[in-house]
Subunit: 197 residues, 2 copies
């Protein structure tokens, strides 16, 4: 069983994560967080060293949720191509999935922290690299098993795919229009089907 302290820490992180993700590091004040959690500053500073540590934990929480979902999706499909289609299908509803996080954590933190918080910025970069690696692995296996042939290296192809997906995420986020997700995924599906089969 988890101790009370551990549960409080966990509660703080999950409550605070969407607030940070929505309003950014500088845009979130400690009073925003006491209000959201119903706790006082004493509680927050008892569980986290400072605002930055809190923000970092919050991002890691969101990031892990996303990474786990991607793992789940990529293990769902049988063949490599299946896995990719399950992934793109996931991104078609990416806005729904990231809604209770307060949007895409990678985009939000990656852009927001750019010139404001090196630690958060580095964490976002790391997550991007991890996702690209996961996708690349699927392609690599597909190539090794002879299932598919790529015009470039698996990592290169994964990066290209992820760039397009993340482009759709960015456009959907900025405009509030999920059609960018739908149309981009539709395009990618025919691209993969045509290019790799």
């Amino acid at each position: 069983m988890s101790t009370k302290a551990e549960r409080t820490t966990a509660y703080i992180i999950e409550t605070v994560a969407p607030v940070f993700n929505k309003h950014g590091y500088v845009g979130t004040s400690m009073s925003d967080l006491t209000e959201a959690t119903g706790l006082t500053k004493g509680a927050l500073y008892g569980n986290f060293e400072n605002k930055e540590a809190l923000a970092l934990s919050a991002f890691q929480y969101n990031s892990n949720k996303l990474l786990e979902k991607i793992d789940e999706k990529l293990s769902d499909g049988r063949t490599s191509l299946d896995k990719i289609f399950v992934l793109t299908a996931f991104y078609r509803n990416y806005d729904v999935f990231t809604m209770d996080m307060g949007g895409c954590p990678i985009l939000n933190v990656g852009v927001d922290a750019q010139h404001n918080n090196p630690l958060l910025s580095a964490a976002a970069k790391e997550t991007i690299k991890t996702i690209e690696g996961k996708i690349a692995l699927v392609f690599e296996n597909g190539v090794n098993s002879g299932e598919l042939r790529l015009p470039v290296t698996p990592l290169q192809f994964a990066k290209q795919l992820y760039t397009m997906l993340q482009g759709a995420v960015a456009m959907a986020t900025m405009t509030g229009d999920r059609k960018y997700l739908i149309n981009t995924v539709a395009y990618l599906e025919q691209l993969v089907r045509r290019e790799l089969k």
Copy 2:
């Protein structure tokens, strides 16, 4: 000739624009701006109603610079296809162009202002729509003159192209790696060549 006051206002905007673009609306303080301009609060508040008006002018300044450049590029090419290639070539060095603005104003403001400033957020959306319209017009002319055939409407195709470009911008911004721009443009060039010729 412009009056002294007009020149001061212009000076403030162009000096303040990259600061806002880098650090965001909440991340930029009035003292950041007095420091950057070498002027005092009195001068800033004499020329602008408040921080929000300043931020909006700053974004419009960056946005216009970008829109003018895109207009220039789209008028450079002779045929519709030429125009598109000139545009994609521009995006290959988009990071260089947006460097002294402090990065892509659309991405930065579009993401940053999302939950922090409705006015700025709306302005970013507007700029996106404008750019998509400009690209769509090129495709439309190409179709009407019989130069090229599209699988979807001109606007739809323009949106898809811009989403991919902006995806590359987002990834390059977040990772600090311009290869995303180079590779995406390379991909788009062969795509356009193959799909539309």
